[in-house]
C-alpha cells in the first residue's frame, strides 16, 4: 500500500506541510518495500485548481492513504473519486506521521475545509 504525506521537503526527515494543493512535495511511502519516493507537486505553480492538480497526481500514483493538514472541496472530490483515504496529520516529520498512521493515531478527514486555504501561506 502507498501512503502519501504532503511535505515541505524531499527527504523523510522533512516536515509535513499542512497545505495540500500548494505543498512543494509529496512523500510517497510504500509499506511493502518500506521505501520513499518524493515527487514535486505540480499544483504549486497552477494558476487555479491547485488542489485538483495535486489530487490528480496522488490518484495517478496509486496512493491509498493521504496524510495532510487540510483539504479543499475540489481536492476532496478528486481524492474521493480516486478512493484515497485522507487523514489529518499532526504536523511532525514525514517519518513520524507515517508511524502515527500505522499506530492508528490519526483521524480521518471527513469534511473539506475552506477553498484557497493554502494560498499565500
Amino acid at each position: 500500500m502507498k501512503i502519501c504525506v504532503s511535505s515541505l521537503g524531499n527527504e523523510k526527515g522533512a516536515m509535513m506541510d499542512s497545505r495540500f494543493g500548494r505543498c512543494p512535495y509529496f512523500a510517497i511511502y510504500d509499506t511493502e518495500t518500506k521505501t520513499y519516493e518524493f515527487i514535486e507537486n505540480s499544483g504549486v505553480t497552477a494558476s487555479g485548481g491547485a488542489g485538483i492538480a495535486a489530487g490528480q497526481q496522488v490518484v495517478n500514483k496509486g496512493v491509498e492513504v493521504l496524510i495532510t493538514g487540510f483539504l479543499g472541496p475540489n481536492a476532496m472530490k478528486v481524492l474521493m473519486g480516486g478512493k484515497v483515504k485522507p487523514y489529518h496529520g499532526k504536523g511532525g516529520t514525514i517519518e513520524e506521521e507515517i508511524k502515527l498512521y500505522e499506530e492508528g493515531k490519526l483521524e480521518i478527514i471527513e469534511n473539506a475545509g475552506p477553498a484557497h486555504f493554502g494560498m499565500g501561506k
Binding site: S47, G49, I52, Q56, V59, N74, V78
Partner: protein, 276 residues
C-alpha cells in the same frame, strides 16, 4: 471610434468619467466592468433587451468514455480530473477552450452552454447603453466582455473598463482607438497608473490621462506626465459639489462648470486620436 476608460487602481472615477463623457459627447456607453457595472445608475437607460452569456463546457458521455485521461492532460486549467472510474468536471475552472473535445479519441465529449452572466441593452435618450453582468461566484469575466464588444457597432462608443490591468481590462481595450487613463493624485494612484500605462503602450493604443480628485498641492501626476511625455487630458477637482452630485446618482455635467470641463476633455481626446 471607440474610447476605453481604464485606471489601474479601483475607485478612481472611471465610471464618473465614462458616463459624463458619453453624455456630453452623445456617444454610446458600454459598461465592461462586469463584476460591478454601475454606469447605468448615472445614465439611467431604459433596458429594452437582455441576453444570457454562456460558455461551452464539456459534457462527457460515460458510455463512450474509455478513461484514457487524454482530456485531463489537455486541460490547462485543471478543470478536469480523472479517477479510476470516471472523469470529474470542475465547471468553474473551465475556460471553454474546447481542447478536451479535440483530443478525445472516442468522441465522448460534447459541449453544452453554461450561463455565466447576462448583457443588458438599453437606451437613455439618444445614447445607446449596454452593460455586462457576471453572475455572483463566477470567476471569468472575459467571455462576457467579448460578447459585449461583438454587440458594439461602428457608432462612437465609450467603453468603461474594470479596475486593474488584468485579462478583463485587456479584453475590454483590445481594438479600441484611444485609451483614457483615469487616476487620482496619490502615490497609490500613480503606482497603478504606471502599470496601466505600460499595458496601453504594449498594446499600442494612443492614450491620455485624466486626474480625478485633483489637488494642486500634490501634483505628482502632472510631473509624471511631463517626465513621460504623456497627454494630460484634464483634471477634475477635489470638490464637494462633485461628491454631492455623485451621491445622488446624478451626472456631473448637469452642473455648468463640469459641463465645460468635460467638453474640453472630450475635445482633447479626439485630438489624441487625430495626432496618433
Amino acid at each position: 471610434m471607440k474610447i476605453a476608460v481604464l485606471s489601474g487602481k479601483g475607485g478612481t472615477g472611471k465610471t464618473t468619467v465614462s458616463t459624463n463623457l458619453a453624455k456630453i459627447m452623445n456617444w454610446n456607453y458600454v459598461d465592461c466592468d462586469v463584476e460591478e457595472p454601475n454606469g447605468f445608475i448615472f445614465l439611467k437607460p431604459k433596458v429594452i433587451k437582455t441576453e444570457e452569456v454562456k460558455i461551452p463546457v464539456p459534457k462527457i458521455d460515460e458510455e463512450k468514455c474509455i478513461n484514457c485521461n487524454k482530456c485531463v492532460a489537455a486541460c490547462q486549467f485543471n478543470a478536469l480530473a480523472g479517477t479510476k472510474t470516471d472523469i470529474i468536471l470542475f465547471e468553474k475552472l473551465c475556460h471553454g477552450c474546447g481542447a478536451c473535445t479535440l483530443v478525445c479519441p472516442v468522441n465522448a465529449i460534447t459541449e453544452e452552454g453554461r450561463t455565466i452572466g447576462k448583457i443588458d441593452i438599453g437606451e437613455a435618450e439618444a445614447i445607446k447603453c449596454m452593460r455586462g453582468i457576471l453572475d455572483i461566484g463566477e470567476p471569468m469575466a472575459p467571455p462576457i466582455i467579448k460578447r459585449l464588444k461583438e454587440l458594439v457597432d461602428d457608432s462612437p462608443t465609450i467603453i468603461d473598463c474594470s479596475p486593474g490591468s488584468s485579462c478583463s481590462v485587456v479584453s475590454a481595450i483590445d481594438g479600441v482607438d484611444v485609451a483614457v487613463l483615469v487616476t487620482e493624485a496619490t502615490p497609490f494612484g500613480l503606482h497603478d497608473l504606471k502599470i496601466a500605462v505600460e499595458l496601453v503602450r504594449q498594446m499600442n493604443i494612443p492614450f491620455g490621462i485624466i486626474v480625478n480628485r485633483a489637488d494642486e498641492e500634490h501634483d505628482l501626476i502632472t510631473r509624471y506626465c511631463e517626465e513621460e511625455k504623456i497627454n494630460l487630458l484634464g483634471k477634475i477637482p477635489y470638490d464637494k459639489k462633485a461628491a454631492v452630485l455623485y451621491s445622488k446618482g446624478k451626472l456631473l455635467v448637469e452642473d455648468k462648470e463640469y459641463n465645460d470641463r468635460f467638453k474640453e476633455i472630450g475635445e482633447k481626446i479626439l485630438e489624441v486620436k487625430a495626432c496618433s
